[in-house]
Symmetry: C3
Subunit: 344 residues, 3 copies
């Protein structure tokens, strides 16, 4: 199932210019350092351009001519973009879109299934669910009552969408993700916790990606929302009533507590946690393992638990291991100053 | 599928008294700040009571009469409780309890299925499993050999219960949760790890709620236990042999290592971690991202990693960013004191 | 389903010597402190050997004769190993290996199913998948196109293996685990993120164990790899291109970011996080909740976030709560020194 193409064919696919042997056959992709003669590689800038001379790759996508190299070069404007485009063209996707509805799926006659929809074996589509044109629901997925999956969106195997969830167009949800489970809200009465019905839903925009085993709770009264283009990695928790803006990217195991509002283009490192009712501005960057609460202004970079400006944190974190020695030094100073006092 | 009722009807349902227009039609619930004319809202105390004057809600549940407001008021003893009660009455639950066993489920003839049980499509019920009266096992659930699900308990889609697990009455388990997987225990021999058979099981009490994708390991010899009324949020890890008391509530992504014993009414913030063999007393509160080990006494509030009293932590955390400046000040003092010494 | 054997039978199974009553009937295993007359227990060394005198256990596996005890003793070289061996012999495993292929599974005619394979109900085996001799694929598992499950490996219910994944021999994967989902890699263009096709796969060695709801991403170009004998607990995230060596053990909720390389025999505590492109040497120990980046040399023990040597961290962490008082002391010193200056 490997690809097989000549250097000339690659150049044609990416709109590039060949320097060197254009008839070599390539059967794989690899980074410069591990590439073999049968691999295509790429170099975007320094220090990678320097590595082109010593690579074993059969051909390298480069942004400019390089002198004194033995490998074939394919010159294109943006080698990285060219590689991403090639990979998409050359490799089949991770899902099957055969526009068939498995006989082994259970699809409610009250559900709306538009044209070109693929449904895998053992999927369950509940009444009033809507699967829009061209979407793919793979094996073992559960699409709850009244839930809508947008055009050309893909649910990988074992995704659960509770009732009343709405997924936009061209979004991707990975295996084990759970969207629309009720949030963690209880009324305390006589020492017991009575679950508060979570009657809001979840709205997920277009071109959103949701990682494996990530959980997104439904809203209490209003909807939990995730904006267009936002990407969530694996094992992330998004609490009820949370609103996340557009084009955000959160790394694995991030946790967002209930009712927090997050702006656009926000980035978060792995295992970061945001307290409930926080307000995170546009363009904010949150470091890995940070613990954020309250307000963070547009464009700020925060890290640490509790979180602070990254410049302050970096210096404080560097000073932290010196704390025991600092204690000793202060003790010594106190002794010296006291002795000084006695002397006087 | 929206509700539709008049102010007078709401008042009757909650046992309240109307002030203002009792014939207005309401079709939704919303918080005071985002409510529309067609919404019912509620105000429990300050500062919410002050917001009633400016809300657009068609009617507001309040604990007392408020003068000078244009919206309809419904006076009840406890507006919050009244809302929770209304939501439960007005909205259908998130599961279907139609007391039918799907033809598409695989139910062992050796399992015991009591009256009024609902089993969804593609569920698997293994031999000797017991589904007690009125419980609901939704699509794709796996109920292992000898496992018992208590009366009126609900398993949302894609729950896995390994063999020999016992779930109490009126408990709720959300999608993707795994109960009874073997704990992380190995015998090291000749540099290899041999898995120690985990022959204990898991006992879960009545009215427990277990969040989406949460994992609870079975015990090694004795059982892992979770007490009545305890609520676990999403993506929580509970290790083998752990004993958790009653009426606890742990937020998302908390991790409890093996053999730890936790009392009653313990609260934990998100991403908190408890080391193995720890002992956490009754009524303890553990802050978000805390790292706890050893013993924590009844009623203590701890936070930080390693965890300490929250009052100590708060002041230390506030001082932390000043560390680099403190280092400088001590250096300056040392210089001054040395110079002083020379002078003398 | 409890075991039932006499002390003499146990002694024979473990190759031990009985001291005391060899005809007692035992029906369970328990630790010394909670054992009943019908239980077998074990003591490996201090302080357990001292507890043998007061235990209620019917019999105790011990490494040496103990005087003045009323319980039966079974003397063996290694009581712990003996118990683990007994548990494996006496209790049935958590899976069913009946070498049958459920009529309710969907197995592609293009898949290769070797002899002695067990496939549970509602499992999906895609084209070109290979299930090697004796492996067990339980209910609701998804085995993607071209994916291989090695000899005698076990997939518990609800495991998802994306396409092109390779699992070695005698490995165990627990419920809800997802292997081979595409990593978190995007090309940013005009403010949008375009997913980079992840065309590498995942290679998992022999005797690996993967916990419930753990996620392992496929590689971008090359494969993500997990070495022989490595054990991953529940809810762990392993990013794309990560290489983990042999005989490692990571506790629950650990997160490994993309392209990180980890040596052999590495241990990690719960909730530890490793940044992307880190290099972790052989035999490294990473403490719970640590945040590691960059290089860690062979055999180092690190903890803290950011991580440092555990000896440095321990002292710094102990000094941390004294920070506010330290600030005061420095302020007092500054005042004294200034006054001293004035005096002069």
């Amino acid at each position: 199932m490997n690809p097989r193409f000549t250097v000339a064919q690659v150049a044609q696919l990416v709109g590039g210019r060949v320097i060197g042997d254009s008839e070599k056959v390539l059967t794989g992709f690899a980074p410069l350092e591990s590439a073999k003669e049968s691999d295509l590689s790429f170099a975007t800038g320094d220090p990678y351009l320097g590595m082109v001379k010593s690579t074993n790759a059969g051909a390298v996508l480069v942004p400019q001519e390089i002198e004194g190299v033995s490998t074939s070069l394919i010159v294109v404007d943006n080698p990285y973009e060219a590689v991403v485009g090639l990979l998409s063209q050359v490799y089949p996707p991770l899902y099957v879109k055969d526009e068939r509805i498995s006989r082994m799926a259970q699809v409610s006659p009250l559900a709306t299934i538009e044209e070109g929809v693929t449904i895998g074996p053992f999927a369950v589509i509940e009444p009033y669910a809507v699967l829009k044109r061209g979407c793919v629901v793979m094996a073992h997925c559960y699409v709850g009552e009244g839930t809508e999956v947008g055009e050309d969106s893909i649910l990988h195997p074992q995704v659960t969408l509770y009732k009343g969830v709405k997924i936009g167009k061209r979004s991707i949800i990975h295996s084990g993700a759970v969207v629309g489970s009720p949030g963690f809200g209880y009324l305390e009465k006589d020492g017991k916790r009575i679950p508060i019905p979570q009657v809001g839903a979840v709205e997920i925009g277009d071109e959103v990606e949701i990682g494996a085993n990530t959980c997104i709770d439904r809203g209490t009264l209003a909807n939990t929302k995730i904006g267009r283009g936002t990407k969530l990695d694996n094992l992330i928790q998004v609490g009820h009533n949370v609103i996340i803006g557009e084009d955000c990217a959160f790394a694995g195991q991030v946790g967002i507590s209930g009712s927090t509002v997050i702006g656009n283009k926000v980035l978060m490192g792995g295992q970061a946690g945001i307290a409930d009712h926080a307000k995170i501005g546009n363009g904010v960057m949150v470091g890995a393992q940070a613990g954020v609460s309250g307000k963070v202004k547009d464009g700020e970079i925060v890290i640490g638990s509790p979180a602070m400006s990254h410049t302050v944190w970096r210096r404080a974190a560097m000073a932290f291991p010196k704390l025991p020695e600092l204690l000793k030094r202060v003790r010594r100073l106190e002794k010296l100053v006291k002795e000084g006092e006695k002397d006087e």
